[in-house]
Symmetry: C2
Subunit: 166 residues, 2 copies
């Protein structure tokens, strides 16, 4: 059986731009608030959650860590909304994505490693693997959509034998 | 000159209910996702940001710590939207609030301490002191509103000589 190996790149806004936003302060514009006692880094993600009467939702998620090499199981997408994950304990995590589109193109998978100070926001329709925490049980904040409508498509990929490796 | 002393209570959902939501996993309902490798704690805050054509916005904020006792300087409110702050490095922080309303009632100030795993979401119009980080320079995620309209009222309170104390 053929095997595809997927290696991991550092997460940068440029490399991730085709898939969504990197939510981070490093290198971003900021302005003082609260009489200068704080700096605000404004509007770091395109939150797109109001299709079909949806509204924004803040949730938490606690994820078990994975170990590498990892056989990838499935990819999913949310056609109606963006979805943001922000790590709450500065723990690195992995992101596996493929371009949005009706068809999942496994030849265009990309894998990234967040440094733990970086969150991500998937654009509506971006194919992505479920959350991949590393090293520790990790908590994440989620900003996505609450509302009616079919907003999660899943495609199993275990049979394609794709191995995510360090 | 008279002086009002304000003491700090632990942050709980019940005590904070008049002002907004506590965003935390402890004691909250959850359900398994990702084939059981993660638990999701859904919909922990009433995000209310679409008045007057507004839309949700994700930002970051880096705040200098304060030391106690602290003379309070001003209170502010966002009449058109909720505003959530979630600590990103598990650092405790303080919250000072007063009930929503055209008039700021300084006799009804309350102060709370987040344990660092708790974020908060101010309901639209809730009067609140600017962010009060403790101990370290602390990063917070903010979920609030982007859009037109006057959405920040500030009232100086330094002359009332209100002292926040441990």
């Amino acid at each position: 059986m053929s095997e595809q190996r997927l290696t991991i790149s550092p997460l940068t806004a440029e490399a991730f731009a085709a898939f969504g936003d990197v939510i981070e302060s490093e290198g971003r514009a900021h302005h003082p608030i609260n009489a200068g006692s704080a700096q605000r880094f404004d509007d770091l993600a395109s939150v797109d959650v109001t299709a079909a009467g949806g509204c924004p939702q803040i949730s938490l998620c606690r994820a078990e860590p994975v170990t590498l090499p990892l056989p990838l199981r499935l990819m999913e997408r949310h056609p109606l909304s963006s979805q943001a994950f922000i790590p709450l304990s500065a723990t690195p995590f992995l992101i596996v994505v493929a371009p949005a589109g009706e068809r999942l193109d496994l030849g265009r998978l990309r894998a990234f490693r967040s440094n733990g100070r970086q969150g991500i926001n998937y654009r509506p329709g971006t194919w992505h693997h479920p959350l991949l925490a590393l090293d520790h049980v990790s908590d994440f904040l989620i900003v996505d959509r609450r509302g009616e409508g079919a907003n999660c498509d899943e495609i199993p990929i275990a049979e394609q034998n794709i191995l995510l490796e360090a």
